[in-house]
């Protein structure tokens, strides 16, 4: 892949969207209004996933459903970290809160599943507000500390109040019964994937709305954002609560797969794996969340079959998945800071550039650095725009995590 240095600032150097794109792009040209565009994509994605679930075996459908549940949690985390620059080590605990909520509803009430999932999402969102308010005043390591506390206390609280949460044995739930002759694993996968698609559409719209622009403005420079009239604390709390709601829904959907929720199910390592999966997939991108979810579901399985094929001892085999995750994280951070999705995008642009003879977009971190440099010079190359519009100029899909 050739990458010619671009003489122009980032927003204009990224594929110049003039008439030339029409040659290859007209088949996939989508409506310009974000909601409409995302709905079209959702219908397309739903069709694709329907065909996929029809062709898969029961076990693979079960796993695809789990991927859908994890993708929701990862997408929320990705918006929080990639778009708003906040780091959370507590998303495993937020998943647990959603999971316990839906399980309690299933045990004590007979509501519609959709209502139960919605309540679980709302409860976790509310917890997100409570945690988000103090967290918004903190940054970096301190924020990580607060969220880490969440990851440690939630399982303890569930153990402490065993009469409500079932203690170590937890709460056993009944999986949704499939109508007619539909295979139960396929039905479950449909529920989980449908929820995931809805969440993707909502998040896709959010990050393209003024809220999304505010997220990125606060991430890039909270002083500049506040000068531009953005309420920094409120924006951070909003990002955290949206992200928490996603984690809650993801956890609630995961309960449908596991059929049980208890204290051992959401350990601290889950929070860390979520963070790793998000970075590997590509922080800040919604498609990256799917890559991360695929990694979270398949890497442990691959490592098991790999170790049995190589007849590794149990001690080695046991930690192989963790080692693979760690290695992948290091490789991604060193070689592809924008994750799988960022690398694929660059590859696609590179191919496009090679075929059309155009320059590929610059490396996102380099672009970010250049952008920040230009921001330091009043009346510089981009003097006509303020910080918030500059953030808006970059596609939210493309930005890498700041810091």
């Amino acid at each position: 892949m050739t990458r010619a240095p671009s003489p122009v600032p980032v927003a204009e150097s990224a594929i110049r969207p003039d008439g030339d794109r029409r040659d290859g792009g007209h088949l996939l040209r989508l409506p310009e209004q974000p909601l409409l565009r995302h709905l079209v994509l959702m219908v397309f994605g739903a069709g694709l996933l329907y065909l996929l679930t029809q062709s898969l075996s029961a076990y693979n459908n079960f796993q695809v459903g789990e991927i859908g549940a994890f993708a929701i949690a990862l997408a929320g985390l990705s918006v929080l970290t990639g778009q708003n620059g906040q780091i959370s080590l507590g998303h495993g605990a937020l998943m647990a809160i959603g999971a316990y909520t839906v399980a309690l509803l299933m045990v004590h009430t007979h509501l519609n599943l959709v209502v139960e999932l919605a309540i679980a999402t709302l409860v976790t969102t509310a917890v997100g507000v409570v945690v988000g308010v103090p967290a918004a005043r903190l940054g970096g390591a301190y924020l990580a500390g607060v969220t880490l506390l969440l990851a440690l206390t939630v399982p303890l609280l569930a153990a402490q109040y065993g009469s409500i949460f079932g203690g170590e044995q937890g709460l056993t739930t009944t999986p949704p019964s499939a109508p007619g002759t539909i295979n139960p694993e396929r039905w479950l996968a449909w529920i989980q994937l449908a929820a995931a698609l809805v969440v993707m559409v909502l998040l896709g719209n959010l990050v393209r709305s003024r809220f999304g622009r505010a997220f990125r403005a606060v991430r890039d420079d909270d002083v500049a954002a506040s000068l531009a009239g953005i309420h920094v604390t409120r924006t951070k709390v909003l990002a955290f609560s949206v992200s928490a709601g996603c984690a809650g829904l993801g956890g609630a959907l995961l309960v449908l797969s596991t059929g049980v929720v208890n204290t051992g199910e959401f350990p601290l390592t889950l929070s860390i794996e979520l963070l790793a999966g998000m970075v590997i997939g590509g922080a800040g991108t919604l498609v990256g969340a799917w890559w991360g979810a695929i990694a979270l579901v398949y890497v442990p399985q691959w490592s098991t079959s790999l170790s049995s094929r190589l007849s590794l001892g149990t001690t080695v085999a046991a930690y192989l998945a963790d080692a693979l995750f760690g290695a992948a994280l290091i490789v991604v951070i060193l070689a592809a800071p924008s994750g799988i999705q960022g690398s694929l995008r660059r590859l696609a642009h590179g191919i496009a550039a090679a075929t059309t003879g155009r320059a590929s977009p610059p490396n996102p971190p380099a672009a970010l650095a250049r952008l920040l440099r230009s921001a330091d010079v009043p009346g510089g190359t981009r003097s006509s725009s303020d910080a918030s519009t500059r953030s808006r100029d970059r596609s939210p899909d493309q930005v890498a995590t700041k810091e």
Binding site: Y59, Q63, G170, G259, E265
Partner: protein, 466 residues
């Protein structure tokens, strides 16, 4: 504005492309992984030449210490059976996966065993919370959930006819120990230390059925999810209450973490510990390791190693120190020849003996089910003939149409330096002195009675085990 929107359109196309790639990759994965079984037999997991069974066990994680040795030891029996032509010509293929004692992983891995590996039955999976998470699923699929490695009363539930526990219910163990305390430590002050889960609570429930309320002076517990350091608070409280006998429902790590701080404050009560947390070759190395980690001197290490002497516990399998017991002899032979890795690493201890005994129970169950093996047939055989199966247990299995938990009795033993020692690759441990005759009781309020039935011995062909 217009220009920007164009770019979004393109990035969306890239998104669609990525999604397509993702789905096609999953589809390819499915093609590789989702192969249908070649079996022509009507029963899943059973062919004319092979029976595929599976389990989820903790090979890593908080519960792995000791328990990770069970499933590899089971392979000793299956390898031996396979080397002799299998059961009715069918060799046994045993797939065990690491669930790290995490019920979420248990749920996923059990689906893998059922939907992808097409197991005939789930055999020898470990843990109460973990197996509860799949009890409903396995029963709804009519897949036997056999010989669950847990003493929860919950396995005997009419709603789940395909589940069978293997260990004695924890309340039964608690009653055996409580009965011994009542008879031999009458008038002494008794304290309790238990894990605040079903396991610990059930042990206490059983012990309290036997021990008079008036003699109980203190009840302490610990939370297993936060078990990280010595249980100093609890042991100090027991000392302050003047407890002369401490009855414990603890896992091995907690046993060591209770004995060490007690030793440090000069408190040496008579310990009476449920068999789960009182396997000398498992607790001994933990005592040494924790002493070393705490910076204890060589003299302290030697003193703490001696703490196991005099500990009272219960046994439902022949104590492994009894070298002349025919089951112990056979178990050693099988491990040495058919699971040499396990033998070299762990030798004969409570866990490896447990694995061999459990696997042998399954082989006996297969034989009882007959040549025409089906899941329903195996269930029927266990309910009808389970009681008469020859197993290593000191008492027969209590299976019937209404009872699905395992052994209903055992004997009370004491770790004693005067008994023949247990020698494993990790060291030399005090052996067991048998204190009571074999006794039986029910998980409920029934009395503890002397067992009057036959004492099981390995059949002649097992004794050869070559």
């Amino acid at each position: 504005m217009r220009l920007r929107r164009r770019r979004h359109a393109l990035s969306r196309s890239a998104t669609v492309l990525a999604l397509m790639v993702a789905t096609s990759i999953s589809a390819v994965g499915a093609g590789v992984l989702g192969t249908t079984p070649a079996s022509a037999s009507s029963t899943t997991g059973v062919t004319a030449k092979q029976i595929t069974i599976g389990a989820t066990v903790p090979l890593t994680g908080p519960a792995a210490s000791g328990y990770s040795e069970i499933a590899p030891a089971m392979d000793a029996v299956f390898n031996w059976v396979n080397a002799h032509g299998g059961v009715y010509g069918r060799k046994i293929k045993y797939i065990y996966l690491d669930d790290e004692y995490n019920p979420a992983k248990t749920a996923t891995l059990t689906r893998q065993l059922v939907l992808q590996d097409h197991i005939f039955a789930d055999v020898g999976s470990l843990g109460t919370p973990t197996q509860l998470s799949v009890q409903k699923y396995l029963n709804s699929q009519k897949i036997p959930q056999l010989f669950i490695e847990s003493g929860c009363n919950c396995w005997s539930n009419k709603r789940y006819p395909y589940s069978f526990g293997w260990e004695p219910p924890y309340t039964v163990e608690g009653k055996l120990l409580g009965n011994y305390v009542k008879q031999h430590f009458a008038g002494k002050k008794v304290g309790f230390l238990y894990q605040d889960t079903t396991f610990g609570q059930d042990v206490m429930k059983g012990a309290k059925l036997e021990i008079p309320k008036s003699s109980v002076v203190s009840e302490q517990n610990y939370n297993v999810t936060t078990l990280a350091g010595p249980l100093t608070t609890q042991m100090s409280a027991l000392k302050a209450a003047g407890a002369q006998v401490v009855v414990m429902g603890t896992i091995p790590a907690a046993t060591a973490l209770a004995m060490l701080p007690a030793f440090a404050i000069g408190y040496t009560p008579q310990y009476v510990i449920d068999s789960v947390g009182a396997d000398a070759p498992t607790v001994g190395p933990l005592l040494a390791a924790f002493t070393a980690a705490g910076g204890g001197s060589a003299a302290t290490a030697k003193a703490t190693a001696g703490l196991l002497n005099g500990v009272i516990t219960d046994a439902y399998l022949p104590p492994e120190g009894l070298g002349s017991n025919p089951w112990v002899v056979v178990t050693k032979k099988l491990l040495a020849k058919y699971a040499p890795t396990v033998w070299k690493k762990d030798g004969l201890n409570g866990n490896t003996e447990y694995g061999v005994a459990l696997a042998y129970t399954f082989v006996q169950a297969l034989k009882a089910a007959g040549k025409n093996l089906t899941r329903a047939g195996l269930m029927k055989a266990l309910e009808k003939k389970g009681h008469s199966l020859t197993t290593a247990g000191l008492v027969p299995l209590s299976y019937s149409a209404s009872v699905h938990y395992g052994y209903e009795g055992g004997e009370v033993v004491e770790f004693s330096s005067s008994a023949p020692p247990v020698v494993t690759p990790t060291g030399r441990w005090p052996g067991d002195k048998v204190l009571t005759p074999v006794e039986v009781t029910t998980p409920g309020s029934g009395p503890v009675r002397k067992y009057k039935g036959r004492i099981s011995v390995p059949p002649a062909f097992v004794k050869r085990s070559d």
